[in-house]
């Protein structure tokens, strides 16, 4: 039975499964590393103990999320060799060095300084510890920078040539790294990571506020998260719009799939809100449309012509149903995030940010929304790139390793079993940590070891709050 399995579909399923698991953790750790840096910076600047309590509370969660991100990320690079060896051979001269830079930044900045961040507070002092936290935050950003540059090059290849062996070779590194879609993708993804983190922090804060409105750490984290959501959600919508216009310019077939435009519209294209894409028939069934709005959004003119998939050969069509719906999930969740940010501003203005239970329940429900939106966004952009791995140049069918179906099926099954068991345990543990309310004098990773910021006074041992006060 296994012999009849299509190894290409299995290899794609395996990469899709593992990368979908992986992206959840960096989406969280990129934002959380910056949040930790902000918390520690605020503690250093103001001396308010609540910031250190929150730092310690989230540091434990960050450590686990970071570890799971590293482990799930390692698998991706192995798959390039096992299942996608033709792709690796052809794109290696361009993408290999960039992947190496990602590893170096993740290795020397993120992983190295994480040790200082986790275990160094009593050894290196607050300022050097803050420097380590900044390095970890910087490392997560550099990591995202290089990975997104690699992905963007696959979407909008630039600065390359080909050698006699049929490999892509770099001709202009500046053009390779800063390829046309990279700045848009970088901004969109980093904002997504910040938004995802703010929603998780907001949900945890809301959970504890629903149980104890007076908890100072829960109030502070909820307030900070709602500020972030209120500011970043509208910025993300603007960044997404700019990214979409860039995609229209460089990958029009993807936008046709997102919009559900099987047919060309020479006199202005409608915005299809909902419908059922029928790939065989090349139409959207039961479509709910707003006339001309798509042309207005994409071309800023009601009657601007927009080409549809009927202008392309069928073999170049991406799978429209997946792209169409994943795009709508992402946009729908983005609008809900905007609503949450707006409601939080209203509650803040009315002075009931910590007392409005419906807002807290809404924030709690939105906790996982960032992860779902990130996954939906990546499904939109990756499935929308099909049937290519390197857009317009290298087909997915020509990128896979010459493997038999059972071989790929066996490794896919192993991944599914291991991932669900290992990451389910990690996620369960993170949820348990989140379920505990942040305490005054939150214990760090070295329980029993007092954090002293100045002098040899035994005061920290006398007053549990005192050890977090600034030294005079």
């Amino acid at each position: 039975m296994l012999a009849h399995l299509d190894p290409l579909i299995l290899a794609r399923a395996q990469f899709g499964f593992t990368v979908a698991f992986h992206i959840v953790f960096p989406s969280f750790s990129i934002g959380l590393a910056s949040y930790l840096a902000v918390l520690e910076g605020l503690w250093l600047a103001t001396g308010r103990p609540v910031y250190m309590d929150l730092f310690r509370y989230w540091l434990k969660i960050f450590a686990i999320a970071f570890a799971m991100g590293v482990v799930s990320g390692l698998v991706m690079s192995y798959q390039f060799g096992t299942n996608w060896s033709v792709f690796s051979d052809k794109t290696g001269p361009v993408l290999g060095p960039m992947m190496a830079y990602e590893v170096l930044s993740a290795f020397f900045l993120e992983a190295g300084f994480l040790g200082v961040m986790l275990f160094g507070m009593t050894k290196v002092g607050p300022r050097l510890h803050f420097a380590a936290t900044l390095m970890v935050a910087l490392g997560t950003f550099f990591s995202a920078f290089w990975i997104l540059s690699v992905n963007s090059w696959m979407q909008t290849p630039a600065g390359y040539g080909t050698n006699p062996q049929g490999q892509f070779v770099p001709l202009d590194w500046w053009a390779v790294v800063f390829n046309p879609s990279f700045p848009f993708r970088l901004v969109h993804m980093v904002l997504a990571a910040y938004l995802t983190t703010s929603l998780v922090v907001g949900a945890v804060g809301a959970w504890h506020l629903l149980r104890d409105r007076a908890n100072p750490a829960a109030r502070t984290m909820f307030s900070m998260a709602m500020w972030m959501a209120a500011l970043v959600a509208p910025a993300q919508i603007l960044a997404g719009d700019a990214h979409g216009l860039n995609t229209l310019e460089h990958q029009p077939a993807k936008v046709m799939a997102m919009e559900g435009h099987y047919q060309s519209h020479p006199d202005g294209a409608p915005l299809v809100l909902f419908g059922l894409p029928d790939q065989e028939a090349g139409t959207i069934r039961y479509a709910v449309k707003i006339p001309k709005l798509s042309s207005l959004v994409l071309k800023h003119a009601l009657d601007a012509p927009l080409a549809g998939l009927d202008s392309l050969p069928r073999k170049d069509w991406p799978p429209v149903p997946v792209v169409f719906w994943s795009f709508r999930v992402m946009v729908g969740l983005g609008l809900l995030m905007l609503l949450l940010g707006g409601l939080s501003l209203l509650a803040r203005y009315q002075g009931r940010l910590y007392a409005w239970a419906p807002l807290h329940r809404f924030a709690l429900a939105m906790g996982p929304a960032g992860f779902v939106a990130v996954l939906a966004g990546w499904i939109t952009t990756e499935v929308g790139r099909q049937p290519y791995t390197v857009y317009g140049l290298l087909r997915t069918a020509d990128s896979a390793s010459p493997l038999a179906g059972p071989a790929v099926a066996a490794s896919l099954t192993a991944f599914v079993v291991v991932y669900f068991s290992v990451f389910a345990m990690g996620t369960f543990y993170i949820l348990r940590l989140m379920a505990k309310p942040p305490q005054v004098g939150e214990p760090g990773l070295q329980p029993g070891v007092p954090i002293r910021t100045a002098g040899i006074t035994p005061a920290p041992a006398v007053d549990p709050d005192r050890h977090l006060q600034p030294a005079e």
Partner: protein, 40 residues
């Protein structure tokens, strides 16, 4: 502002470098073992 620390600067810097280096060595060792294992 948090300004002081119980240890002298050179000791704190030494710890800073030592913990960082130990983290790198630990991870590097794991990566080397993995690489060796994959090659065999």
């Amino acid at each position: 502002m948090i300004t002081a620390s119980p240890l002298p600067l050179w000791k704190r810097l030494a710890w800073f470098v030592a913990i960082w280096a130990l983290s790198i060595v630990t991870l590097g060792s794991v990566a080397t073992l993995l690489r060796f294992w994959l090659r065999t």
